[in-house]
Amino acid sequence: MIRTENLTKVYQMGDAEVYALHDVNLDIQDGEFIAIIGPSGSGKSTLLNLIGCLDKPTSGAVFIDGINTGKLNENGLAEIRRRKIGFIFQQFNLVHTLNALENVALPMFFAGVKRETRLKRAEELLAKVGLGDRIYHKPSEMSGGQQQRVAIARALSNDPEVVIGDEPTGNVDTETGNTIMGLLEGLNKEGRTIIVVTHDAEIAARAGRTKRMRDGKVLD
């Protein structure tokens, strides 16, 4: 379960203070599929980054399974990123010197999993997202949709409870976007919590619950 309490993130832009998030209180149940929708600058990506432990709040807290992430040090946060959360980015963000198999195996590598196990599981995951025949291809040899699917497989690398997507369909065509959303729905059916941020209402509609955001605040 993920819970935010008066979550606030403030950026210093020269003399001005910018409130990217302002007192956000959000409760996300286990196994939910939630979409956060809002215009550019509404703070949705910032919210995602804080929930995903990529960043620390200015004030307020994020609780993951009862643990206050603000009290964790760098290694503690890395641990959560490694085990509990799988992140999918808009720009795919695969390591381009590695092939698909190695990319998917990467989080397991950081988790200290043995080589044989890593590669075997990576192959399984790639098959699951329909890329079993492209495991040795490098990102430069794949389409955007294929890259994003590799990214999804990578996000599942350490079998996380939560999968977070920051505009996962933002850089692909509609058909591929559908495929990706289908994959996420499938993951949700497996019992994983899915949190997606998007500006596309159609995408948001496929989630179980939608929350709107504007100017750093969650609207009810």
Binding site: D55, N75, A78, R81, F89, V95, F110
Partner: protein, 396 residues
């Protein structure tokens, strides 16, 4: 662990040209150190090697060396020679007389140093190591015969002097019975510019019987220092002076040369070290650029679970691998360069010496390369490890 190497290797290979240039930078620095050290060792051995053959010799002179010049304080007497001969442990001894004389050949006059001594003893000291080119060595009864050094024969006079030619030394006629080969560097100063006469003849020609030089050979090299001290004592006693005679063992000479070469090597290495400093600045710069360029990649890695220490070790591994390769290449280049330098320098200077590539130097070179790699890579690696994931991911 192997996979960390693979990951690092992939990143290095991606920026092939840049990596190669960095490797070259280190290689040049290491090559400079290795080659200069090896050439230095080679030169030292060439010189001490020849001296080792004379390790059982002690040179005794009536004077002392102040600063860089030898100051003659007097001369030895026959009594000195007899007393020294009595010291135990001495195998051979020869006393020499020398002085400048006016020598005339055909129509040219020149001042030349004449050396006179016991023919057999002088012979054993010089004939074998240097070699006679023409004619023969002196015999005991060669009252009017002389043997001349290479430079006397070829350089000092207008014409080249051969066996059976006549020389006039201080007004007396002498006939050349032998000409020495050109001596190697070590004996060059002892043989090339001199004319050798029997002790008897030199006493007459030079109008003196002063002994200016005693050469001693000992049985046991380890006793050389001791015997040298004894010789000094005996002679000093005879003359009633404290600091009259000087007895130099080959061992102490070799030591002195060793010290000089340590200094030379130190200077050379110091210069090469400058090259290394430049190389390591280059590496740090390259690694910093690499870290900046890969900000996004670092952010992603942290987002998928890499710890700060993972990122640190990854970048350190990269710079270490590059510098290790640089070290190996540098050692190879250095060894080759050393051989080339010693060959060409040897030809130019007219001496034969080969570079001595010691395994310690090679190991040292690689170790230095690694240290350079780790040290110069550390700051950039730390910078990378400290990047905040969210900033990095956002960085385009």
């Amino acid at each position: 662990m192997i996979d960390k190497f693979l990951l690092a290797y992939r990143s290095i290979r991606e920026k092939r040209t840049r990596s190669i240039l960095t490797v070259l930078g280190i290689a040049v620095g290491i090559a400079a150190i290795v080659s200069l050290m090896s050439v230095g060792y080679g030169m030292e051995e060439a010189i001490t090697g020849e001296l080792m053959g004379m390790a059982d010799m002690i040179s005794v002179m009536p004077g002392k060396i102040t600063g860089h010049t030898y100051v003659e304080l007097g001369s030895f007497t026959d009594r000195d020679v007899k007393d020294v001969q009595r010291i135990s442990g001495i195998k051979d001894i020869t006393a020499m007389t020398y002085d400048a004389a006016e020598v005339k050949y055909r129509n040219k006059r020149a001042p030349v140093f004449i050396i006179g001594g016991d023919t057999k003893e002088l012979g054993s000291f010089y004939v074998e190591p240097v070699g006679i080119k023409e004619g023969r060595w002196l015999r005991e009864n060669d009252f009017k015969g002389c043997v001349i050094g290479h430079r006397v024969a070829n350089d000092f006079f207008d014409d080249i002097i051969h066996v059976n030619d006549k020389l006039i030394i201080n007004g007396d006629k002498f006939i050349v019975v032998g000409v020495f080969e050109k001596a190697s560097t070590l004996y060059a100063s002892d043989v090339d510019p001199f004319i050798f006469l029997t002790l008897h003849a030199s006493k007459e020609a030079l109008q003196t019987d002063e002994v200016k030089y005693i050469m001693v050979r000992v049985y046991d090299i380890d006793e050389a220092e001791e015997i040298a001290e004894e010789i000094k004592e005996v002679i000093n006693d005879n003359h009633g002076l404290d600091d009259f005679a000087m007895a130099m063992t080959m061992g102490s000479m070799i030591e002195q040369i060793g010290t000089v070469f340590n200094i030379i090597r130190g200077v050379l290495v110091g210069i090469a070290a400058i090259a290394l400093v430049v190389a390591s600045i280059g590496i740090m710069n390259t690694m910093l650029m690499s870290v900046m360029e890969r900000t996004h990649e670092i952010g992603v890695m942290k987002a998928i679970g890499a710890k700060s220490s993972d990122v640190l070790s990854l970048f350190l591994l990269e710079s270490s691998m590059v510098s290790l390769v640089g070290g190996v290449v540098g050692c190879v280049l250095g060894a080759v360069a050393a051989k080339v330098i010693s060959l060409s320098a040897g030809t130019a200077l007219g001496i034969e010496f080969g570079a001595v590539v010691k395994p310690e130097v090679l190991l040292g070179g690689m170790a230095v390369a690694m240290v350079v790699g780790v040290l110069s890579g550390f700051y950039p690696a730390r910078k990378a490890s400290r990047m905040s994931p969210v900033e990095a991911v956002r960085y385009e």
